[in-house]
Symmetry: C2
Subunit: 230 residues, 2 copies
DNA sequence: ATAATAGTGTCTGTGAGACATTATGTA
DNA sequence: TACATAATGTCTCACAGACACTATTAT
């Protein structure tokens, strides 16, 4: 026993939807070594001296104290650990996928959203193995988006079908049939997850859009029994 | 920095299929405090002094050195961490779901397979929060079994449809239509995951059964595009 | 022959894919 | 008017559910 301990962190892969540019990743400028001054995933150390009641609490603390954003959805993705990912030695990271609403304000200039694609393509390199964590989190999002309504958590409470379509397509990385999405939204209406507000929104051109409201019933996403894009 | 460390383990939820009694859970009698002498999940401590290249390696080490069984399938489920799960203080467990073939030999008398139901119903209590870990691992198995061929990893390489049916039903916890399973096996044949050996197996009564061979193509389970039991 | 079990076939319903058609706004 | 976009409808196909029916063995 005695010193059989290891350095552990909780790291956050927080994504936001930008209607034109696609998904964006929240980064924070590191205040301390290692990699001081570089942009990296927000995260916190976990150890007995913090008041976290559990890992989800630690993730919420990271969101509150570091990222300073409110999560619309949060899910533990996985844990990685090895001797080389942190220069300080054997370390371990429990990382979370977090979706935030598109209209959030960033509270400080050590925080920024960058295009997700620039990170995934490694044009924007991240320290540690953070690029891989982002990759895994995105795979989780894409995987779940074909059989659940997870991308709706990227939208404001009131949304249009066109916005939902974009959320799904950016999450999955492929175009999908709008009629399939409409069918799914109809089934969500029947289950009380989505309702038609009756309002209309007028785009620059064309027929006005119905404005829907998304009301998640409990944690987790609405699950369908089939997959898109088979 | 300095002592910002935490106690971390990798724990294994290893399941085996017993044709009559259903799923069984592998337990080990703890050699050291805390809970010395009690039956618990096999696991190992992780820290910089062990030669693990990563968490999956640590899990394989736990299987090799503690459980002494060969995994047919292995998957990280999640990580739990809090101040109360271990009497030594704030601790963290990365736990894995492992499926092993039914013809396993146990190498020592500090190892045993117990009925999974007795653990899930808490008639067989486990130390730490191991009962909850088992619960979560089983939910993962059940969840994936409705849209993948995961339960086939509980079978020997050569198997019959009747055996596969039992593997699915025990994994999911409900009866399923054998004709649905046959359809899925046909599609796996087309994909090269299953082949008909041409052999027959004669049950005590009735028509002889076709003997199939399961040949996983890479890690992970074969995935279908629909769910059973909708 | 009878029982038991394996394997096949039939019918229905759901929902995704693809695409045509209609509806309703702006310029 | 033309054009753009939203919303609806139609047709096909794949596959799960349910269950009937046929096939092949032991007793």
């Amino acid at each position: 026993m005695s010193t059989a301990e290891v350095l552990a962190t909780v790291d956050i892969v927080a994504l936001r939807l930008n209607a034109e540019r696609g998904l964006e990743l929240l980064l924070i400028r590191r205040a301390k070594a290692p990699f001081e001054g570089q942009w990296a995933l927000p995260g916190v150390l976990i150890n007995g001296r913090c008041a976290d009641h559990g890992l989800d609490d630690a993730a919420l603390r990271a969101l509150r104290e570091k990222a300073r954003v409110k999560p619309a959805y949060m899910e533990q993705v996985a844990t990685v650990g090895n001797a080389v990912r942190d220069p300080r030695g054997w370390s371990l990271s429990v990382f979370y996928l977090v979706l935030v609403a598109p209209d959030i304000e960033l509270a400080a200039d050590d925080l920024d959203f960058v295009p997700l694609e620039s990170v995934r393509s490694e044009r924007f390199p991240l320290p540690f193995d953070h690029t891989q964590l982002v990759q895994q989190a995105c795979e989780r999002l894409a995987g779940k988006s074909v059989y659940s309504a997870l991308p709706l958590h990227l939208l404001p409470e009131r949304f249009t079908v066109a916005e939902a379509l974009k959320a799904f397509e950016w999450s999955i990385g492929e175009e999908i049939q709008h009629s399939s999405l409409r069918g799914r939204l109809e089934r969500m209406k029947a289950a009380g997850w989505v309702e038609d507000t009756g309002e209309r929104h007028q785009p620059p051109m064309g027929r006005p859009q119905h404005v829907l409201r998304f009301t998640p019933q409990g944690d987790g996403a609405f699950v369908f029994d089939r997959s898109l894009l088979v």
